[in-house]
Symmetry: C2
């Protein structure tokens, strides 16, 4: 099954690590995950983690490897450069950063950055590669939910023209795990859609005062308006609703927003967009490996 293995494509983010063995045409032969996100690897032992995850693939034959995501950040293995937007895949492929990893050919994709009118910067690592695998039209708006969700405007020839980062996923994690809001929560396997929708409404209205809007999670618990098992989804709704309503004050959207990423999370964003009057569609699965395959090809790695 792995006889035609051509490339190892590694999606290495803040929270997750996933390696895929790709064959002819970028077909996924095998995929493995580990709880080895950049923030979870002690003492920067990235080589050990990677060896453990896919060392056996490399024993059979030498294979080129390409990684994208926070592994190229200052907290990662090696800080790969940031390219200034607009940037397309052809340019990014000329800027891969080689990383010493035994005798293997291992490369990290560059990040992207842009400077806003007020002088502030924004940065992206990993999402650009996903977008280059998602086959998007010029001028379309894509949203990539996650630890740090991104709103992106595409330009000509798959270039990335503009983007904005929201720390929505990280805020959700912090607030459920470490804040007083988590104290009233009970975990639940079931997604509480009605609580999520109520949260989206609160967050959409309250997006101008987010630090206040999230406090509704506590009062909904204190006043027994929601059961403890639904508070986490209520908070998720507030945060996503505030992100969507806030972003829509800035981003004009003419065609359906393209959602790229984890399916369950994209469904939450689709609902929040719908409640804010905006249509959306999901990108096909496998955008990250498709983008990595494309970059590696343009760089002549295989």
């Amino acid at each position: 099954m792995t006889d035609n293995a051509t490339l190892i494509a590694i999606d290495w983010g803040t929270s997750n690590l996933r390696a895929s063995l790709l064959g002819h045409g970028g077909a996924i032969l095998q995929t493995r995950s580990a709880a080895g996100g950049v923030m979870a690897v002690p003492n920067r032992q990235f080589a050990q983690v990677l060896q453990q995850l896919c060392g056996d693939w490399l024993q059979k034959r030498p294979l080129p490897m390409i990684a994208s995501g926070m592994i190229g950040s200052r907290q990662g293995w090696v800080e790969a450069p940031y390219l200034d937007c607009p940037v397309g895949p052809a340019e990014a492929a000329t800027q891969l950063t080689p990383v010493p990893f035994d005798a293997h050919r291992f490369f990290i994709a560059p990040g992207l950055r842009l400077q806003r009118a007020d002088g502030g910067w924004d940065v992206m690592r990993g999402e650009e590669t996903q977008l280059w695998g998602a086959d998007l039209d010029a001028d379309s708006v894509a949203v990539l939910p996650g630890t740090h969700s991104k709103w992106v405007r595409m330009g000509e020839r798959d270039s990335i023209k503009d983007f904005r980062t929201f720390m929505t996923g990280e805020l959700y994690g912090l607030l459920t795990k470490h804040s007083i809001l988590g104290k009233l929560m009970q975990s639940s396997e079931e997604f509480a859609l009605s609580a999520f929708i109520a949260g989206v409404r609160q967050g959409s209205i309250g997006h101008t005062q987010l630090a206040s809007a999230i406090f509704a999670t506590r009062t909904a618990g204190l006043m027994h308006e929601l059961p403890a098992t639904q508070l986490a989804d209520f908070l998720s709704g507030i945060l996503i609703g505030a992100e969507v309503a806030g972003a829509l004050t800035e981003w004009s959207v003419d065609a359906p927003v393209v959602l790229v990423g984890d399916e369950a999370l994209c469904q939450r964003y689709a609902k929040a967009l719908e409640l804010n009057g905006v249509a959306s569609r999901s990108a096909p699965d496998g955008a990250t490996t498709a983008g990595q395959w494309r970059l590696a090809h343009a760089a002549g790695l295989y």
Copy 2:
């Protein structure tokens, strides 16, 4: 010095615990603090913590004790009731909750709550007592910075008419301690005023997209726009700026806003208000014990 001791007044919040021994007229004879905030006491061993902090005061003579703050919350010692706004000190004094603590007369002040037009609730514990010791005019707007900062509109006869909670202080703590923003920070004794002001400007402009505005803390570090020692104050500015700008979309302010609480923190809020075109003044020190003294008097505890 403690011969005329009349009341023990306890300010017991989420993060801090402070006990004051009050004499004639509410004069503070002695004050002690401990790192025994409600979230920091394991297994609800509140009696032990209190015994340790001021057990010796009680050995000399029996003294009534009054506590306000999160100690009366569901995470606290006993959940004291919430009274519906508007509420003044005379009504609150009739609703103290007695708590068994050896043979002592120990009471917890009630909390306050209100329901907004959209059906959502807000709650307050402790700040009401501070306000009742701050001698405020009817219709004045007070801001009490802290873990959960409060914006408050006063009514007639020291009643509290309207308020809104912002989790600004807790967000600051979570983001500096546990998030990726903290990874680039270095602690510093010195307050970086210019970084704070830059943050206030970013947060004021970006208050509609707070989950995005805070990410500027990371990019300012990555792009070497600010030294690592100033990033925490920059983030503080973003969060406080967003709170102030967001609150001002809702709260009309005709007279100077009254700032009540920790002096250094009030100075930050004064600066953020000023940058948003709003004047402020500080309430005199000792508002909490003055309010507790007043409540205890109205309740006939001494």
